[in-house]
């Protein structure tokens, strides 16, 4: 565990970048430091590998003061990823990644083999190994930056706004990749960003910092969205807090109706039988069970169901896997107000109305509230800075 204990960074001109910050960064999880510019998040990160030396307070790594070991030994035990990757333009991709292993005295072949292994892990084509950084896109360069940081298999990874400089689509890919790598490798990651959505998506724990280097709130993302510590955090979280929080509610318990689903080759009897009062529309599927669109029961004639009669269903959600936020979004997008649930193969698993989703949300809220109260009493997990 990395323990930051009442650390202050004061510069010679009197500016205080970080003010008596205390933070326990749990092992094998992603801790995100987030806040507006000037809140001291990067300074905090850079104090962990001593790129910035604290003026007061201590930082310990697994109980050992980081000031007690040689600075370069400390840094080599922590991967470091920065914005724009900071690749060495005179070295090939494979040699960029092999940098730290080479510094640790590995042989050239062993280091390069390791580098190639990592290229695969971060989703880089092996054909890029002999290229130079200028030949790669921004997103690819950032992947190389992550691979380079992971090369010597350090237990800790420090990431300073690593995905800020790439476009939103590439950024989403990099974020998903990081979560996937993390699920596999279980590093202790400290991640700095100014993007609250990124923080909520990636963080196991999120530390919201405010200008002047103060900790505003340190909590898991769902709790942050439910229960912001103060007006600053609430404002920083931005609009749609309630909707975004639904991302943390699974759609597992959602009650799906299968009655209003008919195949495209349905007979007149089947159509009549499905014309219930439960749902005003029927979902027509193809012969494999994949959804085609909505129709009013009265408009359908057996054997003559055409695609152009059907109303678009928007977008389906995957039952059980996707969150209630996805389910609600599908229901809102669908012109009938009903969301279509599919299984992993894309076959219709059921339909659900906005009303039912709304009830599920209320249920989930009630459940969380009960859990939250029990949790707070049990171990006092909720940690808030004094205002």
């Amino acid at each position: 565990m990395i323990r930051i204990d009442s650390v202050t960074k004061r510069y010679p001109d009197g500016t205080v970048a970080v003010d008596r910050l205390s933070l326990d960064i749990p092992d094998r999880s992603i801790t995100v430091l987030v806040g507006p510019s000037g809140c001291g998040k990067t300074t905090t990160l850079r104090m962990i590998n001593r790129m910035v030396e604290p003026s007061e307070g201590t930082i310990t790594l697994d109980g050992v003061d980081i000031m007690k070991q040689p600075v370069n030994t400390l840094r080599r035990s922590m991967g470091y990823v920065i914005q724009n990757a900071g690749l060495f333009q005179h070295r090939t991709i494979v040699d960029n990644i092999a940098t730290v292993p080479r510094m640790l005295g590995w042989g050239k072949d062993k280091a390069r083999a390791r580098a190639r292994e990592l290229m695969e892990r971060v989703g880089l084509d092996a054909a890029l190994a002999k290229r130079y950084p200028y030949q790669l896109s921004g997103g690819q360069q950032q992947r190389v930056g992550v691979a380079r940081a992971l090369a010597a298999d350090p237990p800790v990874l420090l990431m300073d706004e690593p995905f800020s400089a790439v476009d939103p689509i590439v950024r989403k890919g990099l974020q998903d990749e990081l979560l996937w790598i993390q699920a596999e490798l279980g590093k202790t990651i400290v991640f700095v960003t100014h993007d609250i959505d990124e923080a909520v998506k990636l963080g196991t724990m999120v530390a919201v910092m405010r200008t002047g280097g103060h900790l505003a709130q340190f909590a898991p993302p769902a709790e942050l969205l439910t229960d912001p510590a103060d007006a600053f955090v609430e404002d920083f979280l931005g609009a749609d807090r309630g909707i975004r929080r639904l991302s943390f509610f699974p759609s597992v318990g959602l009650e799906l109706l299968t009655a209003p689903i008919i195949a495209v080759d349905a007979t007149a009897e089947q159509i009549a039988a499905r014309d219930t009062t439960d749902a005003p529309y029927l979902l027509v599927t193809d012969l494999d069970g994949k959804p085609l669109g909505w129709a009013e029961p009265g408009e359908l004639t057996a054997g003559e169901i055409r695609q152009d009669q059907l109303l678009s269903y928007g977008r389906p959600f995957i039952a059980g896997t996707d969150s209630l936020r996805a389910a609600l979004d599908c229901a809102v997008l669908s012109p009938t107000g009903w969301a279509v649930a599919v299984d992993g193969e894309g076959r219709a698993a059921g339909v659900v109305s906005q009303q039912t989703i709304g009830e599920a949300i209320r249920g989930a809220h009630a459940e969380r509230r009960a859990d939250g109260e029990a949790g707070t009493k049990a171990d006092g997990k909720t940690e808030k800075a004094a205002r």
Partner: protein, 221 residues
């Protein structure tokens, strides 16, 4: 007679290719002066430029020294040194070195300053020692500019080393000084042509050095 005739006459005279005043000897002497002066200037300019460029300190002082160095007239300095130190190679070498240090020093400093800060930050963050950062991260990227500084220093030395002849040393200046004295314009033009050719060869040598020592990733970026 025009210049081309002079050149033709000078180079086709077989007497100019032999002995202590022959072209091979004079070219060898000229190259020797150039290499010695360049080596001394580089030995001073490169370390100071690399170090100040790496730390980012002393840029203003460097600019001042460079301007002062450039303002000194090489010929005048040589005569002064000759008066002070007497006959010897030192009065020739000092002005050549003084001439060559500013371009080496200033371009090396600028080359190091122009290296992007992100890779240096990344290198430091992954635990590289400062000397390693200097030689393995900054220098390879700064190399093309550093070479261009050395190149302009070398070219200036090649053309200025002719002054050695005024204090009775050899080199290609011999032809020019002697030719002017003897009103032998064939010799003057021949000597000047050789100096120009040597300058072009110097350019070629630096181009080749750049091809060999600069990474493809830096050259193309």
């Amino acid at each position: 007679m025009n210049v081309l005739n002079y050149i033709d006459a000078f180079f086709s005279d077989s007497a100019h290719w032999q002995g202590y005043d022959g072209i091979p000897t004079r070219v060898a002497e000229h190259i020797q002066y150039t290499l010695e002066a360049l080596a001394i200037a580089a030995a001073v300019g490169l370390p100071v430029g690399l170090l100040t460029g790496h730390t980012g300190r002393g840029g203003n002082t460097l600019a001042l020294i460079a301007t002062a160095g450039r303002a000194l007239p090489s010929f005048g300095l040589m005569v002064l040194m000759f008066v002070l130190l007497g006959l010897g190679l030192a009065p020739v070498m000092i002005p050549l070195v003084v001439l060559a240090i500013p371009p080496i020093l200033v371009t090396t400093y600028e080359a190091m300053r122009s290296v992007a800060p992100a890779p240096v930050d990344a290198a430091r963050g992954m635990g590289m020692a400062e000397t390693e950062i200097l030689f393995r991260v900054e220098l390879p990227v700064a190399l093309p500019l550093i070479l261009s500084g050395l190149r302009s220093a070398a070219i200036q030395i090649v053309s200025t080393a002719t002054i050695a002849a005024y204090v009775s040393f050899g080199g290609l200046g011999r032809y020019i000084v002697d030719g002017l004295y003897q009103r032998d314009y064939e010799k003057v033009v021949g000597g000047a042509t050789l100096v120009a050719a040597l300058a072009l060869v110097t350019l070629g040598v630096f181009w080749a050095a750049g091809r060999l020592s600069v990474s493809r990733g830096v050259r193309r970026a």
